[in-house]
C-alpha cells in the first residue's frame, strides 16, 4: 500500500513537468512577438524592445550557449526563457497580469475558493441526482421509467453548458424571479472572507441570513454546471447497478429473506460504487473547465470568469497561469480519486 502510494504520488511529477513544458511551448509558438501583441498599435519599436526585455523574451529559449562560452560560467547556460520560467514557477510566481499588473498567484488565491465552492456544489447536485436516478433506472430496467432516465442522461451530455446557464437564468431569474441571476451574495452585503467559501464563512461569522443568501446564489450556477456530471454519473450508476444486481451474492441475500431495500442499499449499491466514484472524480475535473463558461455567464468571481475575461483581453500571463493551475488541480484530483478506491472497496489492495 505504502509503495503504491509513493509510486502514485511520484508518478505525477513527469506529467506535471510535461504540462508546464506544454504551456510554455504553446506560448512560444505564438506567431507574433508577445510584446507586439500586448502593446498593440500604440507600441513604438523602443517600447516593444523594453517590454520584451522586461518579459525576458530577449533571452534564448532553452540554453544560453553563447553566454556560457563567453563567461565560462556553467550557470549561464540556464539563463534562458525556459529555466527562468521554471524557476519562477517553483517559487510560486506565475507572473503579472498585463491588464491589472496584479500578480497572477494573488488573484488565484482569491478566486480559487469561489470556483471550488461552485464545483463542490455542482458535484453534490450532480451526484445526488445522478445516483438516485441511476439506481431507480436500474431497478426499473426496461420500463418507460428506465427509457425516460436514459433520455435524460443522453440529453444531459448533449446540452452546451453555457446555453443551459442562459436558459436557466431566463426561466428562473428573469421570468419567475426565484433565484438571483448573478454573483455570490446580495450586492449590499459585505463579508470578511475566512476560507473564501462563502457558505462556510457566513456560518463562521454567524451571519445566518447571508448563509441562506449564498446558498440561494449557488443553486442556478451549480445546477447548470452539474448537468453534464449528473448525466455521466447516472449512466455509470445504472450500468454498474445492473452488473451488481446480477451477482450471486445479491441473489443469495434476496433468497435468505433480506428485505429488498437492504439488498439494494447494502449488498448492491456499495459494490456498485467504485466505477461511479471514478466518474465523479473525472467529472469534477471537467467541471473546472466548464466553469470558464458558466462563471462568465453568472458573473461568478472565480478562476473561470477570470480566465474568460483574460481571453477577451488577451491577458496572456493570466491565461497561462490559469490554465496551468487548473491542469495541476486536475492531476492532483485524479490521483486522489485513484487512492480513494482503497477506502471504498476493501477488496482492492495495492
Amino acid at each position: 500500500m505504502t509503495t503504491y502510494l509513493i509510486r502514485r504520488v511520484l508518478g505525477i511529477i513527469p506529467v506535471l513537468l510535461g504540462v508546464t513544458f506544454m504551456v510554455f511551448a504553446i506560448n512560444r509558438i505564438v506567431p507574433s512577438n508577445p510584446a507586439v501583441a500586448i502593446l498593440g498599435d500604440k507600441g513604438t519599436v523602443e517600447s516593444q524592445r523594453q517590454l520584451a526585455e522586461e518579459l525576458g523574451l530577449n533571452k534564448p529559449v532553452f540554453f544560453d550557449v553563447e553566454g556560457y562560452r563567453s563567461s565560462g560560467r556553467f550557470g549561464r547556460l540556464f539563463d534562458s526563457q525556459y529555466f527562468t520560467y521554471m524557476g519562477e514557477l517553483l517559487t510560486g510566481n506565475l507572473g503579472k497580469s498585463f491588464m491589472t499588473r496584479a500578480p497572477v498567484t494573488d488573484s488565484l488565491k482569491v478566486r480559487f475558493p469561489a470556483t471550488m465552492e461552485l464545483a463542490i456544489f455542482s458535484i453534490i447536485i450532480g451526484s445526488v441526482l445522478g445516483i438516485v436516478l441511476g439506481v431507480v433506472a436500474a431497478l426499473r430496467r426496461g420500463t418507460w421509467v428506465d427509457t425516460g432516465m436514459l433520455f435524460i442522461a443522453v440529453s444531459g451530455v448533449s446540452f452546451p453548458v453555457f446555453w443551459t446557464a442562459i436558459v436557466l437564468i431566463y426561466l428562473f431569474s428573469v421570468q419567475l424571479g426565484w433565484f438571483p441571476p448573478a454573483g455570490r451574495l446580495n450586492v449590499t452585503s459585505t463579508l470578511q472572507p475566512v476560507t473564501g467559501l462563502f457558505v462556510i464563512d457566513t456560518l463562521l461569522r454567524g451571519q445566518y441570513k447571508m448563509f441562506l443568501d449564498s446558498l440561494h446564489h449557488l443553486v442556478l450556477p451549480a445546477f447548470a454546471l452539474g448537468t453534464h456530471a449528473m448525466a455521466l454519473i447516472m449512466r455509470m450508476t445504472r450500468s454498474s447497478m445492473l452488473d451488481v444486481l446480477r451477482r450471486d451474492y445479491v441473489r443469495t441475500a434476496s433468497s435468505k429473506g433480506v428485505p429488498p431495500l437492504v439488498v439494494v442499499m447494502k449488498h448492491a449499491f456499495r459494490n456498485a460504487l467504485v466505477p461511479v466514484i471514478t466518474v465523479m472524480g473525472l467529472s469534477f475535473g471537467s467541471l473546472l473547465s466548464g466553469a470558464i463558461l458558466v462563471e462568465a455567464i453568472f458573473n461568478w468571481p472565480g478562476v473561470g470568469s477570470w480566465i474568460f475575461n483574460a481571453i477577451t483581453q488577451r491577458d496572456y500571463p493570466v491565461i497561462q497561469g490559469g490554465v496551468l493551475f487548473v491542469a495541476a488541480v486536475f492531476i492532483v484530483l485524479n490521483m486522489l480519486v485513484d487512492l480513494s478506491y482503497v477506502l471504498i472497496d476493501p477488496r482492492i489492495r495495492y
Binding site: 510535461g18 436514459l150 451530455v157 442562459i166 481571453i311
Partner: protein, 273 residues
C-alpha cells in the same frame, strides 16, 4: 442491420443525423444566404413571426437562415476535426503498440500530458496563443481529440499483436508496416468506429464552446456558439437570438450521441450501459 434497426434510440439518432445532413447539404439551394451582405436594418430584432419563424437579429438577418447555415459550419468542421484526430491518434496508437519500448513510453507520456488538461482547457490555451479563428480552433480541438483514439487503438493492437496469425505473417517476412496495415488495423476497426461516432457530438459542443468564448469562428460567420454569444447580450429583449442556435446544438449533439451509443451497443454488446 436488422438488429440495429430494433434499437429505437439508435434509429431516432440516425433520423436526427440524417435530418441535419440533408438540410445542411441543401441549405444553399433551399435558402441561399450570404453572411456578409444579407441584412435588412429596417427589420432589426423582430420576434418570431410567420415571415421569420425564428425572428431576426440585430442586423435584421433571419435567424432561421443563420441557424440553418450555422449547421454547415459546425458539422463540416466537426467532421474535419474527427478525421484529423482519428488519423493522428490511430497512427500514434498503432506505432506505440508495434514499436514497444521507449517509443511507446514516450508517446504514452505525451498522451498523459494531453489528458491532464480537463475538457476544452487545452484547446483554449492553444487558440488563445495562436489567435482566434475557426482554423486555429479546428487545429486545437483536433489535438485535444488525439488521446481517445491513441488509447483505444494502442490497447486494441496490443491485444492482437501476439496472436498466431500476426506471428505467422511476421515469420513469413512481412514488414512491420505491412503487418500493421494488413493484419492488425482491419481487426481493430470496430473500436475505432465506436470512438469516432461518439466523438462527433463532443466535437460539435467543443466548437460551439470555443465560438462562444470568441475563440472560434469570427463574425459574420453564422456559427452556433458565436450566435449564442452575440444573442446573449440582448437576452432580455430578444431571447430567441440565443435560444434557437442553442437548441440546434442540443438536437445535433443528441442525434450523434444516440447514434453513437447504438453503434457501440451493436459492436460491443458486453459494454451495454
Amino acid at each position: 442491420m436488422r438488429r440495429f434497426l430494433r434499437n429505437r434510440s439508435g434509429v431516432i439518432g440516425l433520423a436526427i443525423v440524417l435530418f441535419f445532413t440533408v438540410t445542411t447539404l441543401l441549405a444553399p439551394v433551399l435558402r441561399p444566404y450570404n453572411a456578409g451582405t444579407d441584412r435588412n436594418l429596417a427589420k432589426r430584432l423582430k420576434p418570431p413571426s410567420a415571415e421569420h419563424v425564428l425572428g431576426t437579429d440585430e442586423l435584421g438577418r433571419d435567424v432561421l437562415t443563420r441557424v440553418w447555415h450555422g449547421g454547415r459550419v459546425s458539422l463540416s468542421v466537426s467532421l474535419l476535426v474527427v478525421g484529423f484526430s482519428a488519423l493522428l491518434g490511430t497512427a500514434l496508437g498503432v506505432l506505440a503498440a508495434i514499436m514497444r519500448g521507449w517509443l511507446d513510453l514516450s508517446l504514452s507520456w505525451f498522451i498523459d500530458i494531453l489528458l491532464a488538461f480537463p475538457g476544452i482547457l487545452l484547446a483554449i490555451a492553444i487558440v488563445a496563443a495562436l489567435g482566434a479563428s475557426l482554423t486555429n480552433a479546428l487545429v486545437a480541438i483536433s489535438i485535444m481529440g488525439i488521446p481517445g483514439y491513441y488509447r483505444v487503438m494502442r490497447s486494441a493492437i496490443i491485444g492482437l499483436r501476439d496472436l498466431e496469425f500476426v506471428q505467422a505473417a511476421e515469420a513469413l517476412g512481412s514488414s512491420k508496416l505491412r503487418v500493421a496495415l494488413k493484419h492488425l488495423l482491419p481487426n481493430a476497426l470496430s473500436p475505432l468506429i465506436v470512438q469516432v461516432t461518439l466523438a462527433i457530438g463532443r466535437t460539435v459542443l467543443a466548437i460551439a464552446s470555443l465560438g462562444f468564448l470568441g475563440l472560434g469562428a469570427q463574425p459574420p460567420t453564422p456559427e452556433w456558439g458565436l450566435m449564442i454569444k452575440a444573442g446573449y447580450s440582448q437576452f432580455l429583449t430578444a431571447p430567441w437570438l440565443s435560444i434557437a442556435p442553442g437548441f440546434a446544438i442540443y438536437l445535433a449533439v443528441l442525434g450523434f450521441n444516440m447514434l453513437g451509443d447504438a453503434i457501440r451497443d451493436h459492436f460491443d454488446p458486453q459494454l451495454r450501459t
